[in-house]
Symmetry: C2
Subunit: 486 residues, 2 copies
């Protein structure tokens, strides 16, 4: 039998594709999918299939799958529930390699008719053709020019993070959000009812996919728990797998039962399972994305020692609390390092212990540079986190920090963390807070987005709070320690 | 003895003020404070005091406190550490009512000299004059025209939320952030070393202050634990007091010891104390602001029953999980309400249970309006939370949601929650997610800020995630239940 990777590759990187179920109505799903593929830049051969024939978007529409000029790599199916089985049969007869069935109305309805239709659908699959869905939003594979439905506005840049989701909506949010967290996706799959291809198949695929370095998953209930656990263990041994399990409370479980018909399982069983197989468990969308960003930016992080540089005594106290609660308590600096820092810090009110307090959020560029370099040179930490420092001149002005010292006289600040990363090789994390401006001035947000993207595109992960940064980093360290048998 | 309220009122609403320690250097702290007061709009009589006399910012500078033409309500002191005691003596002799001492170098340095100076300073206070500080950022009291140092860019609009902080930096962040969370401040105080006025005095003041409806506090270690506990109990019986206790972990406690010389106390003791006195405990800056926003917008919330309206099956599952974990599990709707909702929801793929799934994030205005009105009319919940619905036409366009249905044909969506609040009186909460745009387009952030402010200024609290909204609401319900003896 051919590998899952060989079987599914035509779906993720098709040379030819058909959209089955397009119409003259520009807002019907099949038509919006066709348009989305064109606008997303699919560059293989593309065929609309419409029972009425004619032309759609200037392309010849074929009246049936059978009439297509070739056996396409993938067919995207937007056909009515009742005819899906028949269309899959036609695809199989034609030699189509894979289908993605967006159509709903099957087991997820909870009705006897829906379950019967899905049982009939399931019978079609013997490995000669593979199907994702039904009842899904499909596949986003920027390297293969494939997008979800509709997915028109998604990023066309590929990356190293895969996401496999038993929820269309969460997969969509993921595709939209990923670039905000500084990474791009290799593949994102909403797999719906998993009538043929299931979560274990997709996880195995991402494990084998050379473009994927880290895998995220949203799971309600796996179709084959044993195989899923086995695959998790195998893939997690090679690359990090971050799992968000929905439905771990009675209320979530009830919703999962009506969403995907899943038996959600208990909190304790899942926590134990995920721990045993070496997967990373997260419990919210933010934690999922924060953690994947940490794996993307700092894949090899296996050093718990973080040096924290912030501003203000209270800020130092709560950063200490946050680091301790996260499982990455900040280590004390040696007397030698403290002496070196003391020489660089303001004489009164600052603090050279770890967490470091530079006193106020607008240190001079020279002073900040010296402090960070001294910490990097000490060898006493493996990562430096910079928090509550206003790192951009425009932000200092917008936030009125130039009331205390004229910003115009400052050296250019914002590249200090980037220069440090390049010159010292120490890992650097920046915390850029989101609530900043007492006048709700959108200019502050615009500048914050610019600064965030600037750091992210220069290899530095950015978090909105130190708490979230510590939590994400702790997941990476713990994974790497375990993998290395520490 | 006059009440704390009478004693401290001149500091928060002074008719006359002196800034002691100004100079010709426009960037020295005293001078920046003077400028900040002028630009902030202090409209009482304002006197610079500079040992060299002359003119500062076009105002006559008096050579000493003694030479001032009147006994001012408040003197802001920016004098060297060694002379602070003497200047306080002069203020006392002059009949000045209150002083705010920004100067540092006292007990917070940990040195014997600093402690001795502070002991000497402490001796000056017998109730005839009151002091905030030393080693603080002072007072923000927009109603009284007073701002922190520097605090020039702070909002000039007063509100109903007070914040009392043993940290200058956190008090500053609070002043900047509050309007982003939709509320304004009555008073914010950074009280530094609490050499005279301490946390219990300030809490008592806020308890008595008619402009303050809810009090937030950041505490490392109270100066007088018993009185603080007693005052907490008294004030919390009248208005909510939300306490963030820093230094509850070994690392935070170590930082607190060097920041304010506080013995931070144990996690268990503090949790028990705060629970006993009826205060609300929070553990991060976000939780503090989220919770104060909930008390500001929904002060009387005493109904645990929330109706959740979101989009997508997976989203529904994780919202159910989040509500359950927060302590506000969503109650099921009656069969009658479900039947009413089913008639309004898409026939396949939506869900009328609570959490409600409207299927996709871009329901029509008509459908969304009908669903929210049906839930409000049911009487089965006291609050409606709207999440993962793209509520603005510009956002639907910017996020390419118009690929599925043309936005141009939609009725105006964004006021539906506001209209609901006005017409039905049910409480409404909006969740506006922050990670939205795969292209990091700042226009999305600008529109999000506009939409957030639009809801907040119309009485609707806005949270970036459902988790944070549930957590904040649970604090309010729990407080109100307890207060009413439930």
């Amino acid at each position: 039998m051919t590998s899952i990777y060989t079987q599914l590759r035509p779906i993720f990187a098709p040379r030819s594709a058909a959209v089955v179920g397009v119409s003259q109505d520009p807002w019907k799903p099949g038509t919006t999918m066709l348009r989305a593929l064109v606008e997303f830049g699919f560059n293989g051969r593309l065929y609309p299939v419409s029972s009425r024939g004619g032309e759609v978007m200037g392309m010849k529409a074929y009246p049936s799958v059978e009439s297509l000029p070739e056996a396409v790599d993938v067919a995207f199916l937007f056909v009515p529930t009742e005819v899906l089985v028949d269309v899959v049969r036609q695809c199989k007869a034609k030699g189509v390699k894979g289908v993605v069935a967006f159509t709903g109305g099957f087991s997820e309805t909870g009705s006897a008719a829906g379950r019967a239709l899905e049982a009939e659908l399931k019978k079609q699959f013997d490995g000669s053709i593979r199907m994702i869905g039904p009842n899904c939003l499909g596949v986003y594979s920027p390297g293969g020019g494939v997008t979800q439905h509709p997915g028109e506005g998604y990023s066309q840049t590929g990356g190293d993070v895969a996401f496999v989701a038993q929820s269309g909506g969460l997969s969509e949010d993921f595709c939209r959000a990923a670039p905000n967290f500084g990474f791009q996706c290799s593949k994102v799959v909403s797999y719906g009812n998993a009538c043929d291809v299931n979560e274990a198949d997709l996880l195995e695929y991402m494990g084998a996919d050379p473009a994927t370095n880290v895998v995220g998953m949203y799971i309600e209930g796996p179709r084959d728990g044993r195989r899923f656990a086995r695959t998790l263990r195998e893939v997690a041994a090679a690359k990090p797998v971050v799992v968000w399990k929905g439905g771990l409370t009675p209320l979530g479980a009830a919703a999962a039962s009506s969403h995907t018909g899943s038996l959600a399982g208990s909190l304790e069983v899942w926590a134990a399972l995920l721990h045993q197989v070496g997967a990373v468990q997260v419990n919210s969308f933010e934690e999922l994305l924060d953690t994947l960003a940490a794996f993307h930016f700092l894949p090899g992080l296996d050093d718990r020692r973080i040096g924290y540089v912030g501003a203000g005594g209270g800020n130092t106290v709560v950063a200490g609390d946050a680091s301790y609660r996260s499982g990455l308590p900040l280590p004390p600096f040696s007397p030698e390092t403290r002496a070196r820092l003391d020489a660089l810090l303001p004489p009164v009110g600052a603090n050279s212990s770890n967490p470091v307090d530079v006193l106020a959020p607008m240190p001079s560029a020279e002073s900040l540079k010296g402090i960070l370099e001294a910490i990097a040179a000490s060898g006493e930490v493996g990562t430096i986190m910079v928090d509550r420092i206003v790192l951009s001149k425009p932000l200092r002005r917008l936030m009125h920090y130039d009331v205390q010292a004229p910003v115009e006289d400052e050296a250019w600040l914002e590249d200090i963390p980037i220069d440090l990363l390049r010159s010292s090789g120490i890992r650097v994390v920046v915390v850029l807070r989101e609530y900043l401006d007492p006048h709700n001035d959108p200019a502050v947000e615009v500048e914050r987005v610019r600064l965030r993207c600037h750091y992210q595109s220069n290899g530095i992960p950015v978090y909105p709070t130190a708490e979230r940064a510590f939590r994400a980093l702790c997941h990476v360290v713990t994974y790497n320690e375990r993998r290395r048998g520490l």
